[in-house]
Symmetry: C2
Subunit: 643 residues, 2 copies
């Protein structure tokens, strides 16, 4: 595969949340979020004291809150964090999607209460950041590099958009428009404006969301300004540090690669630094390219995409191997047991991939969108919606488990809001085309070609690759329907109204252009055989190993199915004789049973080294979807199994 070209920017945009009703596989997960996770997030924010920082009606809390109760009931102290606004914002965003899914007066009242706190806290000029208003008055906009100020603003904007879309309530949306206008007055290219940008990207993509829902061009323009300003010389973070009488060189993370401001974005060629920051930046870049038809970002986006997906991505779609910088290290450095692979980073990759689809249908992006969503992101949430992974290793000796809360509680509301808004990732809509990026039992109401289409998917995907799509139309309508054929799929077949249709695959999509009739039935069959994936030998951690997959799901072995000592398992060369079975303990998930051997040191006594190779006895290895691991008995887990 040589360097690829990208589709021309074609202005595909995602549907809004109310456009897609989701059932089936994702529907179950959304229900868990709506019925459990959303309230759990609220309760844990309260338990951690996070609302005390925001609430203007109580005294300013100390930097270390004395006694709070951990989710497990034990007492703890908590440091007030400068980025808590963002976490509370994601809790609001999750609540929004939950309320859209299922009325919940209690949750709605509590969320309204938080929103009221924020609105009351907002300053007359529109400024709104609880850390700087309450803990650090007078210091606003003095340390964009470290203090997450615009990042918090961005998440509040996303929450405002979501809450408005889900409930119709405009309070937070109006407040955030005022805040965005204030930000737009402070930052910009003008002589009295600051040419700054945030050390943690997010505001860029949030302004695009705000611009799309309000129709206000100025928010899009401000997003573009932040993208364009990043990394210009003289470096804003240097100037800012000097203004604080600090040595700019004494940056805790050594290099501005950490926050992707080492170069102007169009000159960046390597995915570096903090993984979540990188993904949010590239998401904003892709959004700006889509909104402005800005082809000057294309080369950078393409090179960075290749850099990430060809040299720095786990097979689960997890990214950022290192805990030290929560991010990237060297090419092909993808250790499995110590993988950081933060849930938020996989969510961020899904966000970037989905925004790259703004250019138009391209399986390259949709495949990675699916890979990250179904594996490295979804693993972050337990089946019952109550516990969370922060890091997502691909191997565990039995000590890695989901927790109830985290001092940096970014991941729980991030995976929750992503799951609960999965419908917005499923489609892309342009003037005369609907692209189906993800398959899942669902009903979407989409506007295309001057008409309106109801797209109904009947499928048990990802457990099965048969998809029945019915197009609901009031009258015949000519448009293009692009159906994704996943990269993992061989032998896809298409039928329309029962008649087989030959159709070429273009960039991973069947693009069917015709005048559609009301009730047209499109049937897509995506054969789903288990397959083994091998890694480039440059990835030392995966040498002589394979990862088993089926459809979009990466599989793993767990101790509970296979006994301890998973490294003794050696999968036979062929997995042609693999069989599948449905596991009720995993919500109907499909397990794969594969002929394997187990290495055996019996007969070698206590010898540490021996001329005799280990013995082997035949076993059947049971694989389960990676995202479902650690939902049963705790124990070892392994993705890359020896071959």
């Amino acid at each position: 595969m040589t360097s690829f070209d990208l589709p021309a920017i074609s202005g595909f945009r995602p549907p809004a949340l109310p456009d897609v009703d989701v059932q089936g596989f994702w529907g179950d997960r959304i229900d868990a979020v709506a019925h459990r996770t959303a309230m759990i997030l609220y309760d844990r924010c309260v338990a951690a004291g996070m609302l005390e920082q925001i609430n203007p009606d109580i005294p300013v809390p100390p930097l270390r809150l004395p006694f709070h109760t951990r989710a497990d009931g034990t007492p703890d102290t908590v440091n007030v964090q400068m980025f808590w606004d963002s976490d509370v914002a994601k809790v609001i965003e999750t609540a929004a999607y939950a309320l859209y899914r299922t009325p919940n007066p209690d949750l709605e009242a509590k969320t309204d209460e938080i929103i009221a706190m924020f609105c009351k806290l907002q300053q007359p000029d529109g400024y709104l950041n609880s850390w700087f208003i309450r803990m650090r008055p007078g210091e606003r906009w003095t340390n964009l590099r470290d203090c997450h100020e615009l990042y918090c603003a961005g998440h509040l904007m996303e929450a405002a958009v979501a809450y408005f879309q889900a409930t119709g309530k405009r309070g937070l949306l109006d407040a955030m428009c005022r805040y965005a206008d204030h930000i737009g007055s402070v930052f910009g290219p003008g002589p009295d404006q600051k040419p700054g940008y945030c050390g943690h990207e997010e505001i860029e993509l949030a302004l695009v969301r705000l611009g799309r829902v309000t129709g206000e061009q100025r928010y899009l323009d401000l997003a573009r300004f932040f993208i364009d300003a990043r990394g210009q010389k003289p470096h804003y973070f240097d100037i800012e540090a000097a203004a604080r009488n600090e040595d700019p060189k004494r940056f805790r993370h050594d290099t501005y690669e950490y926050n992707q401001s080492h170069l102007p974005v169009r000159e960046q060629t390597k995915v570096t630094g903090h993984a979540v920051r990188a993904m949010y930046l590239y998401s904003g870049m892709a959004d700006v390219a889509t909104e402005f038809g800005d082809d000057s970002l294309t080369d950078a986006l393409k090179i960075l995409w290749e850099d990430l997906t060809e040299k720095q991505m786990y097979v689960t779609g997890g990214i950022g191997p290192a805990a030290s910088n929560e991010g990237f290290t060297d090419y092909y450095d993808l250790p499995n047991e110590s993988a950081y692979a933060e849930t938020c980073a996989a969510v961020g990759l899904a966000m970037w991939a989905s925004r790259m689809l703004g250019r138009g249908p391209d399986g390259r992006f949709a495949d990675v969108l699916e890979q990250a969503l179904y594996n490295g992101a979804l693993s972050g949430l337990s089946l019952d919606g109550s516990t969370f992974f922060y890091d997502n290793p691909l191997e565990s000796r039995g000590g890695h488990h989901r927790w109830t809360w985290h001092r940096c509680p970014c991941c729980p509301p991030n995976i929750a809001r992503t799951v609960a808004s999965i419908g917005t990732y499923m489609y892309g809509v342009a003037a005369d085309e609907i692209a189906v990026h993800l398959y899942n039992e669902s009903t979407a109401r989409l506007a295309v070609a001057g008409g309106s289409v109801t797209v109904e998917q009947k499928t048990s995907y990802p457990w099965d690759g048969h998809i029945d799509i019915t197009l609901g139309l009031e009258k015949p309508l000519a448009f293009r329907l692009a159906l994704r054929v996943p990269g993992w799929c061989d032998g896809a077949s298409l039928a329309i109204n029962g008649a087989a249709v030959e159709c070429e695959i273009e960039r991973g999509y069947l693009r069917i252009e015709r005048e559609w009739q009301p009730g047209d039935a499109v049937t897509l069959d995506l054969p789903m055989q288990p397959y083994a994936l091998h890694a480039n030998p440059a990835v030392r951690a995966d040498l002589g190993r394979a990862a088993l997959a089926r459809g979009p799901l990466i599989y793993c072995v767990e101790e509970t199915d296979n006994a301890a000592g998973l490294h003794e398992l050696v999968v036979d060369d062929t997995i042609a004789t693999a069989s599948t079975s449905v596991l009720s303990a995993l919500n109907g998930g499909v397990a794969i049973d594969v002929p394997a051997h187990r290495e055996d040191w019996q007969g070698h006594g206590n010898r540490l080294y021996d001329r005799q190779a280990p013995g082997r006895r035949p076993v059947t290895a049971r694989f389960v979807p990676y995202h479902l691991w650690d939902n049963r008995e705790p124990g070892e887990m392994l993705v890359w199994v020896r071959t």
Copy 2:
């Protein structure tokens, strides 16, 4: 293999240095030490300012010596170290062996000068430690736990014994006897004595050496006292810390497992803590068992031996995987690239193994003695004797190389003195038996059964397994000759005066009891085929890999022979077709060429993961002895190659 029994303690003792002249393989290495290393060590001690701490004729140096010259010529500062006496002592010991090998008036004069400094520094009561006399007056014997005080004494005793044996000069020996007598007055079970012992073991084995050469029982008794006192309650290090007004709990290494004083030695069952300390302790325990016929130490020695060699030892005989404690971690935790495996620790293992042979011939100990000496220890010294490994990983990406000096310069003189005194490891002599533990071109003059025997070995071992032994006798003499048959050897054959002799192997030795005639010729053939070693699958780092070996030598692949990307090499199941060749660039070392494949990601383009397994192209992999790596072009190295 089940738990093993040990030979009854049979009082086998090693020959003294002058008893064995070594040529051949080890002779070349001794010559490098004698002609180069010994003077290099002296020069680097001078360059590092180490003698300024000792020399009583110059002012006391500051704790940080301002400007000294690194061995590479660049300027540096050096912290004065409390353990430098021990390093200078090993430099003296190396010089002793070098002078015995080759007269060198310059080296002798310089060594005499250092010895004179020590003698002049010695206090009227016999006390002799440059750190406490010059840098910390008044603080002697107040912190045995951390300050290496008795450890330094022990190394000076070893140096004194060696210098006396090599040159006949008694100055240092007499000084150290006075010091030993002082130590014996301070430490002991008496009411006015301290029941203490050193945080870094060494004094125990040194006192045995001193006792053997002087014939003074009191030194052996003192050695036994230190062994017996270790780890008794109340804990001496607790008492001592309290006396310094320090909290005993605030020990930098957390637990007394670090210095093996967590339990009385007879109750210890797990090899823990700092690897060199552990080896020196166990060496002292074995010596005491031999000297006193003390069977109460047998169980502990046996259990600790099993613990180390069955769960915690690299295939190179390297030990102590972790840099953090320079020592042991968990069972089977033997990572290859990050292996610490300090040269001193492999030397210490050889010391312990050779002392276990004090019980009598037992291949279990001799095999490990050979494994550590020829691999993980000898790797510490470059072929030309000028540079040194401190840590000895079993895998390198190309960045690991021998250095000229180290701020903790323990390893260079330790491997140098070991190589230069290798003759003392070759034999064990009891009342009526001579045991040959190591084969090497050499001549030994040994006293046995009331007579005297000259044992002449003609062999190119370890490159070839044919050994001709001639016994020089003045008259016929009845004694037992025990010839080791290494554990790696299948099909050993024995002939006496040309006639094949059948002889059972007992504990790894052919024990031939007869009246030997002057000139009797014993021929031993140890077939030497390359073989592959496999690790217990509990060693995760070695899963699906094998180490190639031939005779006592563990082999590795180097980039210079095989090109970069050694992890792409996969050795075929059979190495039956391996061929050998002699490498002049490696001093005549034998290389092994093995049919292999090289994994190839060409045809996979830039894909990071692919359903197609990597391609394979046939190659010949060249293996060279591990101890010889990094003597040619720098590059990658790998011991455990994929199979």
